[in-house]
Amino acid sequence: MKHSISVLLAAGLMTLSLNGLAQKTASQGIDEYRAMLQDGNPADLFEAKGEALWTQKRGPKNASLEKCDLGKGPGVFKGVFVELPKYFADTGRVQDMESRLLTCMETLQGFNAAEIAKTAFGRGEQVNMTALATWLAAESKGMKFNLSQANQAEKTFYEVGKRLFFQRGGPHDFACASCHAEDGKRIRLQDLPNLTKNPGDGVGFAAWPAYRVSNGQMWGMQQRLNDCYRQQRFPYPSFASDATIALGVYLGVNSQGSASIAPAIKR
């Protein structure tokens, strides 16, 4: 009797230590899983689509986007992604990649920018918008972020973005900072980058657009921020709105010098 109890105890202890082991390796297991997905990122499919869209004559004006000025002059697409958002004199606005693409789709191709901005993600022209942003990000893959803070509007937007980052609200009192202002934290099993400073190469701002394996969707930065706000229980941030662009400036300037891995693959 005594003997069987000690055997049971030993077995119990073994299970305990095995549990301990399993927990210790949970994050290693997740890392392994992510590594397995790196080869064969479906973002490639969207990148190819975006590349074709750039030269395709479309819209009421039946024109391509080849003369679009994304910040380095008309038609330049290499390296623009890592310098956005920035101030554009022709619109008098600070613009991110998607906001600037809207401008080009309107002025060059004759699309109605307001209509596209109102379209839900994954529908109509938003699908093309995401594909274009994915391809343009890929054209700067490996380059280091280098956002301008020379213009007063760019400096002001950084300060506004910082305030938005720390703005608590909604029924849960959440701010971006609730999850992204400390090192080494996670939500469930997801590591949370600290975005109040440079989180390093390919982390945070430097990883989007990304393919989301959980829903099989390609997300640009605008949709990434939109879903952060959704989970924060905030109201809906309009597409390419100043709030989302200002946040982009804050995150982008903080990522100064980090290499972009976009388009990435994410949970």
Binding site: D39, G40, L45
Partner: protein, 103 residues
């Protein structure tokens, strides 16, 4: 029409590794829409591949293959410059073929 595939074919030693990404919803038939109605299954059922025109692979897939499917396989004797084609056909009869050159 379905979007093109991305096919990478790379020779190493006496064979070539083929990596394919396909653009497809792969709807499982288990999911319900917002109105509570089951979304009908829609998935790639057959995948075939050729090497310089000669059939080398055929596969049958079910709806449990992930959305925007990835497939990797190796063709024996394939070398740089050879042509590889991949064809898929889904349960609605839609089909798509793309070609890549082994590098």
């Amino acid at each position: 029409m379905a979007d093109p595939m991305r096919i990478r074919a790379q020779a190493a030693g006496d064979k070539a590794t083929i990596r394919v990404l396909m653009s497809h919803e792969m709807e499982s038939g288990q999911r319900k829409d917002a109105a509570g109605k089951t979304v009908p299954a829609w998935f790639i059922q057959e995948v075939t591949a050729t090497h310089n025109g000669k059939p080398v692979l055929s596969a049958e897939w079910g709806p449990a293959v992930s959305k925007n499917p990835f497939l990797q396989f190796a063709v024996k004797g394939a070398k740089a410059g050879d042509k590889i084609t991949v064809t898929w056909k889904d349960n609605k009869g839609d089909t798509r073929t793309d070609e890549a050159t082994v590098s």
